[in-house]
Amino acid sequence: MALDYRKCAEEIAKYIGGGSNVISAAHCATRLRLVIADNSKIDKKALEDVEGVKGMFESNGQLQLIIGTGTVNKVYDEFLAVTGVSAATKADVKAAAASKMPWWKKILKTPGDIFVPILPAIVASGLMMGIVEAIPKFAPAFGNTGWYAFLDLVANTAFALLPVLVAISAARVFGGNVFLAAVIGLMMVHPALLNAWNSGSVQGVATFFGKPIPLEAVQNAINGLDPKVAALIPNDFLNQAGALFDLSKGVSPSVINSLPSEAASGIWSALNSSLTVADIGGISKFALFGSYGISQVGYQGHVIPVILAVLFMSKLEKLLHKIVPEMIDLFVTPLVTVLVTALLTFTIIGPVFSILENYVLMGAKWLAGTKIGATVMGAIYPWTVFLGLHHMYNVIEAGMIAQTGLNTWMPIASAANFAQFGACLAVAIKVKNAKTKSVALPASLSASLGITEPAIFGVNYRFMKPFLCGMAGGAVGALFGALFGLGAPVYGVTGIPAIPAVNNIPLYLVELLIAAGVAFVLTIFIWKEEKPEEKAKEPEPEKPLELPTVSVIRCAAGTVMQPVKGNVIAREAIPDDTFASGVLGDGVGIEPTEELVVAPFDGTISSVAESKHAIGIEANGMEMLIHVGVDTVNMQGDGFECLVSEGDEVKLGQPLIRFSREKIKAAGYSDTVAVLLTNSDDLEGVECGAK
């Protein structure tokens, strides 16, 4: 009996909460695929009872109603008419499903999406940087060689200019122009801006902007120097300087830098602890709006401000493309996009982050003072790395050394970083996916050397649970470090490279072991690799296809590649007289070892059997029938899923039919797949057999 399409569509609409509850609708060969706004309005039981709906399930944020080949399109048309929803493509439905994720989940997911493509760059750099910077800690002489300087340059390029990589990748995620995004990224690390890593250092700020240093502070610094180093400074140094500069305004940094390097660095390190950046007048600004200006500081090491800037840029660019007349679009849109984004970035995003940085700094300083605080800091430290706020910590460390001679911040940071290493290593060991493994291993090594970005962004944060396990490990390790009063008289290193400097090497090793161990064990037990099952069920066209490599039929009009994996047999050996006799055309049989039929050449689907077990494809005069199993028409579609519809253009290797060998066997039929050129009589030079 023919189905009343209208009635079916009306009932579906009724039980899903009406047309207003539909975000988008599409259909494939057999199913109506809907993205629903409010799933609670769905009456699932009633839906299943609707005549014409053979089954329903929810997958990937879609409500899928199985209706059947040949009918689904008619029900779909009626459904659109009934609900007033406009037709959507399958891709639209997928996009809508992705956008249906809760907003916080989408936000959490975005940095991972952006970081995955740039992983090779930061994993390589992170590992190299960790090694290159660790060597001088053990072999100080190496630090003065040309090799060290050169390797350091190579290793830290990706990190020093990270915002550029992030900007380009973010533009691809947000759909903005990658070149404009690159400009934004480059602007944020422009050499005319102070390197963000130096923004907390008196030496860095004074030298970069030529800020004079108060005379008294310089005198105190010189007086405090080791006598041997002080001997390098000419006696009348300050008098000479006074002849060139007005010392009442302070000592120019270039004067200090003109001293022998040992003396200069001694003075600077004293000044770094005795003064703050504010004491020398702070970071210079571009005066833009009266007294309000933009700090001349870059975004080295930052990630989140770059992502926000490119997000804004991409939205603005799209909007402008829409409203700017086409004639002037080419120059107006990029110009306005870059200018507005730059202004917004430096006036709003930048200052908000610098305020945030200051609070983080104050909070971190306060936390590091107590044992419980250290525990908390050990846990939240990776979040500050994630937000790119960690480059301010040098200031805390320098302050601690100046006050007590012992940097007790380092054990906290080490515990946190080493815990991320442990979690990442656990992923590397446990994960089956070869690609993830190949990222996780070098990323964990780099983390053990104190460069945690690859491990955090590339692995732990992406899977989230390892990140949380790492937080736990960091907390335990940091508590241990605080309990035993661990510390070091140096700053700027963590993890393995810090070993030679710590005040108690055995206990420090125990701390690292605890931090990494806790994170490692927790990750091994708590984190499970997500199986890509959902994906297997729903082959995506953008998924790289595994192309068949064996041809089974060749003729003048083209080549037929093997559409199903398995053993190729002669047509005559197909266990069915009709196929074997060649009545349906020449070809081969395949005894399948897998359950997927793929397109044997680029072509058009000419027919799909109602019972989904056979499919016709045409191209260049070749008419091909792929028939799965013998007598399987009697199974009436049970055990078969057709992934394409009549009229679809398909590419070589594209999945066409999924079938269950088990069900075919259970029904008592042979699962031999007949691959036949039905018009082989009209084709020239037909030759069959695997080759």
């Binding site: 009545v583 059997a609 109602e610 016709g616 045409e618 008419e623 029938l625 028939h627 039905t678």
Partner: protein, 85 residues
């Protein structure tokens, strides 16, 4: 041109095997045979097109036979349908 109508009784309709033997039968004649279902019509020698019509049990189709031997062809093909489909 000779035409006749036929209602399919074969439970699987004109699917691969029945279509194959139908094509084999039709090839014996010089006439052009067209199978019509609703508004669709195909050359009965085009196996894939024939199967693509999705002719099922209970469907009524019209077969047009046109050519030098249409008289005998139509009669034999109709007999073939009755015997096999």
């Amino acid at each position: 041109m000779k035409s006749f109508e036929y209602t399919i009784t074969d439970p699987v309709g004109i699917h691969a095997r029945p279509a194959g033997i139908l094509v084999k039968e039709i090839k014996k004649f010089a006439s052009t045979v067209t199978v019509n279902k609703g508004e669709k019509s195909v050359n009965a020698l085009k196996l894939m097109a024939l199967m693509g019509m999705g002719i099922k049990q209970g469907d009524t189709i019209r077969i047009d036979v046109e050519g030098a031997d249409e008289e005998t062809a139509a009669a034999e093909i109709e007999a073939f349908f009755k015997a096999n489909l």
